[in-house]
Subunit: 327 residues, 2 copies
Amino acid sequence: MAIRVGILGYGNLGRGIEKNIHFQEDMELVSIFTRRNPEDIKTLTDVRVDSVDNILEYKDDIDVLILCGGSATDLPEQTPIYSKYFNVIDSFDTHARIEEHFNNVDASATAGEKVALISCGWDPGLFSLNRLYSECFLPVGNTYTFWGKGVSQGHSDAIRRIPGVKDAKQYTIPVEESVAKVRNGENPTLTTRDKHTRECFVVLEEGANPEEVEQAIKTMPNYFSDYDTTVHFISEEELQRDHSAMPHGGFVIRSGKTGLNDETNQIIEYSLNLESNPEFTANVLLAYARAVYKMSCQKVVGAKTVFDIAPSLLTNKSRQKLLKETL
Amino acid sequence: MAIRVGILGYGNLGRGIEKNIHFQEDMELVSIFTRRNPEDIKTLTDVRVDSVDNILEYKDDIDVLILCGGSATDLPEQTPIYSKYFNVIDSFDTHARIEEHFNNVDASATAGEKVALISCGWDPGLFSLNRLYSECFLPVGNTYTFWGKGVSQGHSDAIRRIPGVKDAKQYTIPVEESVAKVRNGENPTLTTRDKHTRECFVVLEEGANPEEVEQAIKTMPNYFSDYDTTVHFISEEELQRDHSAMPHGGFVIRSGKTGLNDETNQIIEYSLNLESNPEFTANVLLAYARAVYKMSCQKVVGAKTVFDIAPSLLTNKSRQKLLKETL
């Protein structure tokens, strides 16, 4: 019997799940749930769409519900609510609030006897795994995380909120020179500015002043003021044509020491080079949905993170096959 | 209370454990066990050495026994024997015999109610983990494993068995051009020769014929005949001076496709750049020793592989710290 999956929220990530679930032979998509009018949703495949208001009617028809909302307002509310009734996964990524979110979700998933995996994806998620693994294998050393080259949704949104901006895309770009130093075992101390640059492609509203907009971007605290930022003004057509993709990626590098006197350099690197961030994230969530399902069959309950998931739970291959082909 | 570790076998790996256990705040080294006369063993630190004949006297004093013997003859015998009495880890790496070894060890560890982790290290081990993870996240695609640049003990030994050879070191070197094609998402079909070259540094016995030795190396089946091999003859002093280190490393690259019609390229890469192979392997085994210990406290029994170990079992950090600092 297939693992029955539901999607709550039909944005980039929800569409990513819809487009990629066909790779998972042991899964089927039961329904997409939306806060919008279901009839207004144009799906990419032939899949049922229902209102989130009816979701509890599917309580016995869905093995894992994948929550595809945003971390700012959707998930802090949705994951605690739905983990009472469904095994769930979310991709909550507000680092400062992860512990609070974990505790909220743990309480409701435990009460509902469900499994709830939070903060899954590639960062937090796979990058977190690699930080943990590499710090366990090289207890003394430095961990460096670089992101990009890729589109940051958060930074693109921040630019769009500036008066005079019609649309924008922002690329986060790792500083090659710093990456090279880290790979070379130099253990540099890197400031925010040393690690990444930011490149912005902006479409102006008619009559807007480009110098004012550029100034507003470059001085924006948290988002841009600590970085070397480049701003390009382009037409709406150019933005559509050249900047519609959502590539991303990055590196987690652990540069550590071993030996009686820390005399030996050892480097572990994990990197992603993604043409589509939401499609890759969707695939990560789908593999972890299998793990959530298996854990629920084993009567595990409560909130979990990727740290709690044994790798063998992610696959539908037999142990024998894994021993023969993968180990 | 500290996790009490024993070492069986005092070669490169055993010394690696001895040199690196000080990084693990929650572990102590109880004793090294040897088949040689304990008095002949010169340790690097102030640690007890005892004969393996007395090892069962330590049954209640050791939480995890790390088996540091070779895969050819030591481990197939030792792991089944000692997993009856101790929680154990080995680094068994004869791929073709892993399933058989797993079954043998599982039977005795289960009978003895112990946990036995087999085939731990970096390949098999961390590279296996990354093959599994990346194939779960990118179900359609190709996985490429490259090794090196590094010293292959097996190939160095094979050269040493040739008549006329006094000593030798062999480096396995990945073919840069092939690695670049893989990273570029070209999904090339690569022969053995396309993936690695082999470079040999050989010290001849007096009077040996270099041309005969070179020919014997280059035509050796399995080890060299399928590769482009370079042979350098050097003096014993040069070998000592320039080739005593044991660097190694390599890459696991998954080049996969996502999307409704497999239209999106996604690349996951994991790489190691190690100045000392045995010291790094030792650190991997030590982290997994912690996991074995924790599992034994949870009454888990039987043979396990790295696939069965949840990442959180490797660390002594609290969940709270992991949520705050690592996720």
